[in-house]
Amino acid sequence: MYLAKIKVTYKPSVLDPQGEVIKSALHRLDYETVEQVIQGKYFEVRLSADSLAAANGLVESMTEALLINQNTETYNYTVEEVEA
């Protein structure tokens, strides 16, 4: 069994209104030293595969097929082997 952890964020060119809203909310809560907030998505996917390499391949392909929209989002991920 493998566990993939995938972080998805907007490409820097894309407006992230939530990030802006959260930043101003943090300022209002007196966290004034916050310079930037980016909100993205985080996925944990448990899957079985024949090898770590195969798991990596599956994770990349499913992420690009479904989990992100390549027009606006990028991702990075890690895969580790875990107990079933």
Binding site: S13, V14, L15, P17, Q18, V21, L66, L67, N69, N71, T72
Partner: protein, 224 residues
């Protein structure tokens, strides 16, 4: 004229659309997104608003893989009319039938209102019956900000694919885009809801000409 409304799990403007099509003589029926039948017989295919698959992940992202979408793609390639309203628009961009993407409103939050639209293309398959270039149409969305890269925006402009623009900045859309077509002009997506504006009792009939345009287009082109 035969039209069809695709129902995705979580669609919620499917009946509104059906009634509007019925009242304006577009002879609608329903099809489930889970079925994989051909849509070759229909002159116009409507993807209604709602929250397909809960809009989980991203709006339209999961609906795009529904079995029916192959038939929708084939119909689009075949030159039949394909219309996505609101969530339907989001599904069309996710599936690549239309360029760009619908993203969270610039000021986050759902907006329910009526908004003035500028009809940018008076001769399109979806607007030819309009006699004024400003129309008032209901909007109801949280993810309606149209986004595309600069090249795409330039192409949309030069190919006359931008059909409707907001007249004021409702949701932060690039170039105030409210609705676009594909290059061929037979696939249209828009965030506002013309199907909610067809009945005088409800107080707005500016959506009627949208459907009358489609009727006229089908009558002259005779897809079927």
């Amino acid at each position: 004229m035969k039209s069809v409304v695709v129902r995705f799990p979580g669609s919620n403007c499917d009946e509104d659309m059906f009634y509007a099509l019925q009242e304006l003589g577009l002879n609608p029926s329903f099809v489930s997104a889970q079925s994989d039948i051909s849509l070759a017989d229909y002159d116009a295919i409507f993807l209604p608003g709602g929250f397909s698959y809960g809009d989980y992940l991203r709006t339209g992202a999961i609906a795009r893989f529904s079995p029916i979408m192959q038939a929708v793609q084939a119909a689009a390639d075949n030159g039949q009319l394909v219309v996505g309203i609101c969530n339907g628009f989001q599904i069309l961009t996710e599936s690549g039938l239309l360029p760009g993407q619908l993203m969270m409103n610039e000021v986050p939050g759902f907006i329910c209102d009526e908004t003035l639209l500028q009809v940018e293309q008076a001769e399109s398959a979806f607007t030819n019956a309009y006699t004024t270039d400003e129309i008032l149409i209901p909007v109801a969305h949280a993810d309606g900000r149209y986004y595309a890269d600069e090249q795409t925006l330039a192409d949309l402009e030069s190919n006359h694919q931008i059909v409707f623009k907001y007249t004021s900045n409702l949701n932060g859309s690039e170039d105030m885009i409210a609705g676009i077509t594909n290059k061929q002009g037979n696939v249209l997506g828009m965030m506002p809801h013309p199907e909610r504006a067809v009945d005088p009792l409800i107080g707005n009939t500016d959506g009627q000409n949208f459907f009358k345009s489609i009727l006229a287009t089908v009558a002259t082109q005779g897809v079927n």
